[in-house]
């Protein structure tokens, strides 16, 4: 069980190191990379199944008991995120066969990709706030090098903005961790949650400052308003496969971290969070989608859409936090319904992240294929792809419609859950905003469709495409795109059962007790001064705690 929890981190790390040793042979690195990604996927599936089966799993690294050592925790949400990481990993390594080219591969491409995958898994699984910081740094370093790999002028410019803002985020994060440690003397998330929950009223201003620092720091990582500028400035510059990896999974790490700390730690002690995040969500959605409307390069449009989609996720989190905050003053008989609404909102976020990782990564994959076929992503130079590549066009259509939220596809379900939760919470205006943004998303997607696929190819672009030699390997790229389309349709069809899993993740986040109990043992909980750990001990205390604390 221990091995299973740490395997999504250990496997990509081992793969990265072995790829380093195999520096001489690109072919060997490629084989190692594929084997590593498949192993990561297999382990993440096993972990996910196991967590669904037995509940939250925890592993103390080095055998140092929590809260003194570093603990890795897998609950339903983090297991789901790790599973998605595994899916993207497999897609990326196969897509790379056709897409990346030996020039970049020689410069430790495979090592960097696997370091990035390890750091993403690490951020999802870590139950220790400082350890999350460390994984963020590993992530920043590997993504920075991946971003500049190839050394083109535009890449360096984008990478500079990327690294500057992300370093700022890291320093805010570190200050917040320092303040938090000064306040409660612990870095273990579960332990912090208990101790902060029992802090007196005089600590509230400090807690608010810490919470806002975390909001800004994770907000920069997640690219929320007003911190999103670095994302559209950098994500369209590297090799398309790297854009796909970043666009698919990296910003979600910020959203995940925000969900984790706000539900586990700050929900009971920083009641203003819901309101603030709701406004941020609205601005993020609107600015992202308006920014996209003004762009005429495929990957730039997609980058701005990442921002607006992050807004939906933040909206779900904000609704959940608002409902939880209102529960304090609500009559007892209303509380179960409110709990259900909050769980629905968080489950909706998890579902939306799942949908977004599939749809967005695939759109970037398609953009990569288009770039390969035409040598450009500028809409005005593109055209005629529908005539030439009808299947590719169809696959783009499915992903784009999924992103825009056309019924029965994944985006529709994701938005539906969030909208229903918003209506139940009585936040009608944000629901209106999100629906309006959905329409504008459809506008952007049809723009790409009409310009790149539907319209006739502009005459002056004839003959500028890469020679047939350069388009070798697109078979692998197409296969990955097709695989993702199958996944998107599969998730759309199985939306019901999948939503039940994500809703369970939402319940776990709200209850907090399963997480805390899995990390901290009973002996430690009893030993806490003032009996603050007592309410987390007995399995029966769960319902009482939910009623009294919330």
């Amino acid at each position: 069980m221990n091995a299973l929890v740490v395997s999504p981190i250990a496997i990509p790390l081992l793969t990265a190191f072995l790829c380093m040793m195999a520096w001489r042979s690109v072919a060997l690195q490629r084989a190692l990379s594929i084997a590593g990604a498949l192993a990561l996927f297999a382990c993440s599936v096993l972990l996910f199944v196991r967590v669904l089966d037995v509940g939250v799993l925890a592993a103390d690294i080095g055998g140092w008991r929590a809260p003194f050592g570093i603990t890795m925790v897998a609950d339903t949400l983090s297991a789901l995120m790790v599973l998605l990481n595994g899916v993207v990993a497999v897609a990326i390594v196969f897509y790379s066969i056709g897409a990346i080219g030996p020039r970049r591969e020689k410069h430790a491409y495979h090592t960097l990709v696997h370091c990035l995958l390890a750091s993403v898994s690490g951020s999802f699984l870590s139950g220790d706030i400082f350890n999350i910081y460390v994984w963020f740094e590993v992530m920043l370093m590997s993504s920075f090098v991946l971003l500049t790999l190839g050394g083109e002028r535009g890449q360096l410019e984008g990478a500079l903005k990327y690294v500057t803002l992300n370093l700022l985020s890291s320093s805010l994060f570190l200050s917040a961790v320092g303040l938090l440690y000064g306040l409660v003397g612990s870095l273990n998330l579960a332990d912090i949650a208990i101790k902060l929950g029992s802090a007196g009223d005089e600590a509230r201003p400090v807690i608010a400052a810490i919470a806002v620092l975390f909001m800004a720091s994770f907000g920069i990582k997640a690219a929320i308003f007003p911190f999103f500028f670095w994302l559209p400035a950098s994500y369209h510059t590297p090799a398309p496969v790297i854009s796909a990896l970043f666009g698919g999974i990296l910003t979600k790490v910020g959203v995940y971290a925000m969900m984790r700390v706000y539900t586990l730690i700050f929900a009971p002690v920083f009641p203003a969070a819901g309101e603030i995040l709701l406004w941020i969500a609205a601005f993020t959605m609107v600015t992202g989608v308006l920014g996209a409307a003004a762009q005429y390069e495929i990957r730039r449009i997609l980058s701005f859409h990442i921002v607006s989609q992050i807004g939906y996720m933040i909206m779900g989190l904000a609704i959940a936090l608002l409902v939880l905050e209102r529960m304090d003053g609500a009559p007892i008989e209303d509380r179960p319904a409110m709990l259900a609404t909050a769980a629905m909102a968080l489950g909706g976020v998890a579902f939306f992240i799942l949908h977004n990782i599939l749809a967005k990564t695939n759109l970037f994959f398609v953009a990569g294929v288009v770039h390969r076929l035409r040598g450009t992503g500028e809409l005005k130079e593109l055209g005629g792809l529908y005539k030439e590549r009808p299947y590719l066009s169809l696959m783009f259509m499915v992903s784009a419609m999924a992103l825009a939220g056309i019924p029965i596809l994944t985006g529709f379900w994701g938005k539906l859950i969030l909208v229903v939760a918003g209506v139940r919470a009585g936040e009608y205006w944000i629901v209106g905003v999100s629906l309006g943004v959905g329409v504008l998303t459809l506008f952007s997607m049809t723009k790409i469709w009409a310009e790149a696929f539907w319209k006739a190819r502009p005459e002056e672009a004839e003959g500028t495409e890469p020679k047939p030699d350069d388009t070798r390997g697109t078979g692998w790229m197409n296969a990955v795109v097709a695989g993702f389309v199958v996944l998107i349709i599969g998730v759309s069809v199985l939306a019901g059962p999948i939503y039940r899993v994500t809703e369970r993740a939402g319940h776990e986040l709200i209850e907090r007790a399963p997480y805390i109990r899995a990390v901290l043992d009973e002996e430690y909980l009893r030993s806490l001064p003032g009996g603050i750990g007592e309410r987390w001990i007995e399995p029966r205390a769960e319902t009482a705690a939910a009623g009294e604390g919330r």
Binding site: N2, A3, V6, L13, L14, L18, M20, M21, I61, G62
Partner: protein, 140 residues
């Protein structure tokens, strides 16, 4: 740099420094020292060679590619954590074995942290030398 004094001295110092780095590495478990310091010392030995003669000769002396050395070091460090994992314990927990060695009355205790430290040693050696050699090659 073409200095006879430095070249002669480095011939004597190189083996001594390497020997010392291994001693520091091995005593590091309970006393000051360890893989990091040992690695730095070993790197200084090869850096001395690179400065007294040239980078090429130092690279020849190493025989191993630096990147591969870093990879090997990191792999060893990670693998040292797998031992207790395979015994059902947590990742990176130290396991100790008693190994009887000829010439010693008591068996010698060898544990997985030693492997971890060797990994750190190789990683530090590889990383530091990559930096020094790169800078030195710019100068040359």
């Amino acid at each position: 740099m073409n200095s006879l004094v430095l070249q002669t001295a480095s011939r004597f110092l190189l083996p001594l420094l390497l020997l010392l780095s291994v001693v520091i590495l091995l005593r590091g478990h309970n006393t000051p020292g360890g893989g990091f310091v040992g690695g730095l010392l070993a790197a200084s030995a090869f850096a001395l060679q690179a400065m007294a003669f040239d980078v090429e000769s130092a690279r020849r002396m190493l025989r191993v590619n630096l990147l591969a050395m870093v990879g090997l070091g990191l792999t060893l460090a990670l693998v040292s954590g797998f031992f207790s994992l395979s015994a059902g314990g947590p990742l990176l927990k130290g396991l100790w074995f008693e190994v009887p060695v000829l010439g010693f009355d008591d068996p010698i205790k060898i544990g997985t942290p030693v492997l971890f430290d060797i990994g750190v040693y190789l990683t530090v050696l590889g990383v530091v030398l990559t930096m020094i050699f790169t800078l030195q090659e710019v100068v040359e």
